[in-house]
Amino acid sequence: MMRLVFLDLRDHAATWVGAFCVAVACGFIGGFAASLMATAKSYPNMESLAVTMLMFSAMAAMAVLASAANLTVAMQRRSYALWQLANVSPRRVAAVVLAQLAVVAVLGAVVGTLVEAASFVPLFPLVFSSPFYQPIDQVVLDAGLPFMPLVWLSVAGVFLVGGLKGARGAGRTSPMTVLRATDQPRKGMTWLRVVLFAGLVFGTWQLASSLFGKDLDALGNSLFLPLLMAAALVSVAPAVFSALLSAWTSLVSQNRWNAWYIARHIARHGLSVSTSVETPIMVGFGLVAGIFSLSSLLETVIQQYGLTLNATLDFTTSVLLLGGPILLCAVGAAVSVVMSSRTRTRDVALLIASGARPETLVAAAGFEALIHAATATLAGMAVAAASNAVVAAAVEFPLFSGLAFGEGLVVSIAGFVLVLAATLVPTLSALRKQPALVLAVEE
């Protein structure tokens, strides 16, 4: 079995490299938190920072890791179908898939933690450069190497949980169904997602309720509100994003541009890919815009009450709270699109054979990136606006006072640029191939 695990990983390295990159990013962030924890042993006030950083990054990590694991398994369905035809039992197929996920996750996490351990010493003074944390030259840095295996296990654990359903599905699906189908199946809501959503909504409700009638000191917890709301939205992402994408893109006439027509269909149809691309950008936008909005709102509240509290996010706090999620979101979004480039090659060949101009397909790739980024941004705006409204209501301010999308839009634009690169490069590469060769390979 181990031979099958490694040979298949080698043969489909182009697909697995995406999951590997996500695991590297998770390993790096987990490693940074571990290093902070180890350093904080001598400086207890740093420990809470490390825990907060972990909480924010963990949510993004779970969303991105699970998404990457599922997408990888979905991309590999054809290969798993061929195994079944070679009489590999469904149970063994599932076991091999899980073993592959574990191997890739651990390898990626090891690389990520190694890079982090090597860069922690030069990185630390950069991250803690805000005046509030000075002086830091006396801090004894500890990379926390003994904690690293815990990071590897955590990354592998999330990867396995995220890919569990896909792995079981890979073993159960009829091989002929997979081989006949020319596209990925549409995965919608599952009962697990519904339960998770219900739990997260309950948690959000509890936190929101706790903010009413409390003093201003207790409002610090409100920073977790966008986190919980984004997590709740992630759990129902396949249903919500699909509906949102269909709704807003239908506002533009389908007859206006062929490129728009093609892009909309590709984005709507590839639900697994779309969700994997949009989730990270939504999380990034929701967290950044949500937290900056709350910070701005709380600042106004503090000023109004003439208090001396400080609610402004300094550079260090911003990096620690949002650096991890943003890095993960960026890697996750780009990786998702790159992983789907194989099907893009075939789609491009089919469209060229149908009479599409190369320029139309390049424009369609641009529109597709725009559709993903805009859908994710709209969902992220809802998260930021909702969390802001709850806190504003708790302090009896107008619901949308303090709402700031500017910083979030930076994330969206960065996400758009990454996704654009990830849609354009495979499209341009596919355009250089002879359509006949691509279509003949499929036969």
């Binding site: 709507r268 054979a353 149908s354 190369p358």
Partner: protein, 244 residues
């Protein structure tokens, strides 16, 4: 008699192998043929004889290394990207063995796509009519994944028709179909060729399919070694065996 496709001395070679084992293999070695309007031509031959490569070179999906191919009077070999696109858009339709429908589009959208890309979008009624013409009434909203192989191939044929193609190139159109669906697909192709303005060029292993063509070209080692008029499967088999 006007010709839709005229090919002269078409050559094509592929480089196969890696490193020191790299070598060029000649797949087409000077193929010449013509296809008249209202004609159905079948290309048969043993595996590896270059049938599919010839079809792709004739249609402009693959670039020939040398020779000349004219589709509706437009040169395909050495044509620029835009000229090639215009030739395909205005005159050519494809039917593949594995249907090659675009999975994200419904049957109706697949059918109307070439016309839409050509800037002549079809109305919903026209799409319904074309689909009805291939026996798929009311299936315009179905997705390829929800259709049988025979139905998908009919959509592919409808797509080639709806685009207004003057020449339909079909690569093993019955290869993935059972005999009943295969016969129906061939009947539709025959119907296209019966239109005096259109023609069909079909690559096939199926002798029954080849027997429906007006002319049969037998290809071997990248050359046309024999040409038959309308023939029955037994005669085509004899010609094929003689070519082996």
């Amino acid at each position: 008699m006007s010709c839709t496709v005229v090919a002269r001395e078409v050559c094509k070679s592929f480089v196969i192998g890696r490193g020191s084992k790299r070598r060029a293999t000649d797949v087409l070695r000077g193929v010449s043929l013509h296809v008249a309007a209202g004609e159905m031509v079948a290309i048969v031959g043993p595996s590896g004889s270059g049938k599919s490569t010839l079809l792709y070179c004739l249609s402009g999906l693959e670039a020939a290394d040398a020779g000349s191919v004219e589709v509706m009077g437009r040169q395909v070999v050495g044509a620029g990207r835009n000229d090639l696109f215009k030739t395909r858009r205005d005159h050519v339709g494809f039917i593949f063995q594995s249907y090659n429908l675009i999975p994200s589009l419904t049957a109706g959208e697949n059918v109307s796509l070439p016309a839409r890309l050509a800037g002549r979008p079809l109305t919903a009624a026209q799409v319904r009519e074309v689909l009805a013409g291939v026996g798929l009434e009311g299936r315009e909203k179905s997705r390829p994944a929800d259709m049988s192989g025979g139905e998908q191939q009919r959509v592919a044929i409808a797509r080639a028709l709806a685009g207004g193609a003057d020449v339909v190139f079909a690569d093993e159109p019955t290869g993935a179909l059972d005999s009943k669906n295969g016969r129906e697909a061939l009947g539709l192709l025959r119907g296209i060729a019966d239109d005096p303005a259109r023609s069909v060029v079909m690559v096939t292993h199926d002798l029954e399919a080849a027997s429906m063509a007006d002319r049969i070209l037998v290809l071997k080692d990248g050359r046309v070694v024999r040409e038959l008029g309308r023939s029955n499967p037994t005669d085509i088999l004899k010609a094929l065996e003689a070519a082996r």
